[in-house]
């Protein structure tokens, strides 16, 4: 199975962990693979690939390995250890906190500086910017401190995926991962294709992709 490493960044108050908890718990999953604790979670989703053969679409499972990071400012210096070799990042902010978007933007800039994020880079890390706590806004837009427009414009300018969600009411959570999964899968296929055509750079591919699946029954963590 193809697997992707996904790192989770954001301030401690924005509810980044509840987004993942919501995502992982709502999916049907017979083998829970997380054996130690909730800071590392993994989840498999199914994609439908009908590009090759539109008449008989193929179901492709992909697995996310989700690396949570401590959101407190004082642990920020440890983040590079976690996002190294990430295939994707979810950067979370709180739409009811006017300072939180600027903090998220700092993360975006840091990742762009230190990971391959160029659109043409076959190994690029795909970033999804996520505004949480949509439930607090509801019909009353006065609670909202970050406009959708502002965050969306920033995302478009920087080549990020973008969602506004509510982890509490389970709005939009699945879409974040579905979209990330599709983007990652397409990128992966592109890469395989160019490899087989012999014009891929032979530098080390993505290590995460080459690792055997954790489903392997010989894993000591099963």
């Amino acid at each position: 199975m193809i697997q992707f490493k996904l790192v989770l960044l954001g301030d401690s108050s924005v509810g980044k962990s509840s987004i993942v908890t919501r995502f992982v718990k709502d999916q049907f999953d017979e083998n829970k693979e997380s054996t130690i604790g909730a800071a590392f979670l993994s989840q498999t989703i199914k994609l439908v690939d009908n590009q090759e053969n539109p008449d008989s679409p193929e179901e492709v499972p992909i697995k996310f390995e989700i690396w949570d990071t401590a959101g407190q400012e004082r642990y920020k210096a440890l983040a590079p250890m976690y996002y190294r070799n990430s295939n994707a990042a979810i950067i979370v902010y709180d739409i009811t906190d006017d300072k939180s978007l600027s903090k998220a933007i700092k993360w975006v800039n840091e990742l762009k500086e230190r990971l391959p994020t160029d659109l043409n880079d076959p190994n690029r890390c795909i970033i999804s910017l996520v505004g949480n706590k949509l439930d607090l806004v509801g019909d009353d837009e006065s609670n909202r401190k970050i406009s959708t427009q502002e965050a969306r414009d920033f995302s478009i300018d920087n080549g990020l995926l973008f969602h506004e969600v509510s982890a509490k009411n389970n709005i939009g959570i699945k879409d974040i991962f579905q979209e990330l999964g599709e983007t990652l899968y397409n990128q992966h296929k592109e890469k395989q294709k160019s490899k087989s055509m012999g014009r891929a750079d032979s530098s080390k591919g993505n290590i995460e992709l080459n690792r055997p699946s954790t489903n392997d029954s010989t894993s000591c963590c099963n």
Binding site: Q3, K5, L8, S12, K16, S17, S18, V20, T21, E33, S34, T35, I36, G37, A38, A39, F40, S42, E65, W67, D68, T69, A70, G71, Q72, R74, Y75, A77, L78, M81, Y82, I207, R211, P212, T214, D216, S217, T218, S219, C220, C221, N222
Partner: protein
């Protein structure tokens, strides 16, 4: 061995460390009785008929002599799993040694022996990168040979993966003194003394790790005495919960300390994962299962490491060396997502502690009254200096006497075989034909008694910790769960949490 002793002989830390491993092999009964026997079998010459027979005998005698034999299930007795994190762990070192003894696998055994003895004999001091490459290359080579020679040739994927995993354990066990930085340094020093050279250079990367480890330990001693949970920005923790936390930390410490008792990266890693599990167990008990995350885990991990200083007075944890060792010598195909995550978190926590200093202190920790904190820190440092001076006042003679006595008592405890093991491990002619001294019948019985006693002591210690952590449960319930979980403490705690 007293912790005092450890502390006293700072300059000869590696020496103590060696002793520690020696002793630890004796008392390491934490996860099923098979453990010691396997260590015995694996460190001894794998092809040595005598040893393996004895190994089986010992196992049998333990089986019948075990007090709670009805409660201990088969896997406890027969599977040699060192620490295990899951109940259905498939790791099986004992059968691997059996396969290796198969006459058809002789070439594999020969290659392995020759590789090990070459490295042990080598007078070159390789750096970490070179060692990693050497081991990786050999592993790659021997994995290919697995597909040529029976019984490995016809193994299914699962068994083959086990064989690869076990081969790593065999190699690292045998080469431990050459790979684990603190011990490597010790053998380097020995080499220099023998050759009467003083300008030989010890590989920089290994030296740096040892230096960092020592400096990290100093930070743990200094800052660990004064840093509170609040300083690390964790969720508000009540007085009552802190008392509870201290009880969990005792177990955390024990799990972590075990890491030094194992030689293979796999076994060390399992100890590390178990200690992480203990932290999560506390978090679950404190705030329920909901929304636990790295925000909770990371500060508590740092705190738990800092508080090692409360419970132990020894720098021989060698935490940084162990992390590097695991990272370097665990084959990447076995280092999966979750394991890398927690290994990395540990490295992050250690890095955080290592970087604590007075200039950056208040950017790294949250303090209401900076002066008050500084005063407390100065006081702590003063206390540590006073303690150090006090120790230095012990004359060399006293130290010497103490050590002699200790050696004597250790000698008595130990059986000949264990000695043979260590010397065979340290000597370069490890595969030489010298027969190890055989144990006599009387000290075999003695040994069995020892093992039984150690098992009982360990069980007693575990039960006491459990009682402290879960006072609401009856002793018999705790005992039942403990035995059902094959005396695996992290798993026991997990099940008890579900009952709460």
């Amino acid at each position: 061995m007293s912790f005092q002793e450890h502390f006293d002989s700072d300059s000869e830390y590696a020496d103590d460390n060696i002793n520690e491993f020696e002793v630890d092999k004796n008392d390491d009964q934490h996860n099923g009785v098979g453990e010691k026997d396997v260590e015995t079998a694996e460190v001894s010459q794998a092809e040595d008929e005598y040893k393996l027979t004895e190994f089986n005998e010992k196992e049998k005698s333990l089986e019948t002599g075990e007090t709670h034999k009805n409660l201990v299930n088969d896997s406890d007795i027969s599977s040699p799993q060192p620490p295990s994190i899951e109940e259905k762990d498939t790791f099986d070192f004992k059968s691997f040694l059996g396969y290796l003894k198969d006459p058809r696998a002789e070439p594999i055994l020969k290659y392995t022996r020759s590789f090990i003895s070459q490295i042990l004999k080598s007078e070159r001091f390789y750096n970490l990168k070179e060692q990693q490459k050497l081991l990786e290359d050999f592993e790659k080579f021997i994995h290919k040979k697995f597909s040529i020679y029976e019984p490995f040739k016809s193994m299914d994927d699962e068994k083959l993966a086990n064989a690869k995993d076990c081969m790593e354990k065999l190699l690292t066990n045998k080469l431990y003194v050459k790979l684990f930085s603190p011990l490597y340094y010790k053998s380097f020093k020995k080499f220099c003394t023998v050759r009467e050279m003083d300008d030989a250079s010890f590989p920089n990367d290994h030296a740096d790790i040892i230096a960092n480890d020592k400096s990290m330990w100093e930070k743990v001693m200094e800052y660990g005495g004064v840093i509170s949970l609040k300083n690390l920005e964790t969720e508000e923790t009540s007085e009552e919960n802190i008392i509870l936390l201290n009880k969990f930390l005792k177990v955390f410490n024990r799990e972590l300390f075990k890491m030094g008792k194992f030689r293979s990266p796999r076994d060390k890693l399992v100890c590390l994962l178990n200690s992480c599990k203990i932290i999560f167990s506390f978090l679950k008990k404190r705030q329920g299962d909901t929304s636990l995350s790295a925000d909770d885990f990371m500060p508590l991990l740092i705190y738990s490491i800092l508080k090692i200083s409360n419970n132990v007075d020894t720098e021989n944890y060698w935490l940084l060396s162990s992390m590097t060792y695991i990272e370097t010598f665990r084959q990447s195909e076995f280092l999966r997502g979750e394991e890398s995550y927690y290994l990395m978190s540990f490295q992050g926590a250690l890095q955080f502690i290592l970087e604590l200093d007075e200039d950056n202190l208040f950017t790294k920790i949250k303090v209401d009254d900076e002066n008050q904190f500084k005063n407390a820190l100065d006081e702590r440092k003063g206390y540590l200096v006073a303690k150090k001076i006090e120790k230095e006042e012990l004359t060399k003679e006293e130290l010497y006497k103490k050590r002699k006595e200790q050696e004597k008592s250790m000698q008595e405890q130990k059986n000949n075989e264990e000695e043979g093991l260590l010397s065979s491990l340290l000597s370069t002619n490890w595969f030489g034909s010298k027969q190890q001294p055989k144990s006599t019948a009387s000290n075999k019985t003695q040994e069995q008694k020892e093992i039984k006693k150690q098992i009982l002591d360990k069980e007693k210690e575990d039960m006491e910790s459990l009682k402290e952590m879960f006072p609401q449960f009856d002793d018999s319930i705790l005992k039942d769960v403990y035995y059902t979980k094959t005396k695996n403490i992290p798993l026991t705690i997990e099940s008890l949490l579900e009952l709460v």
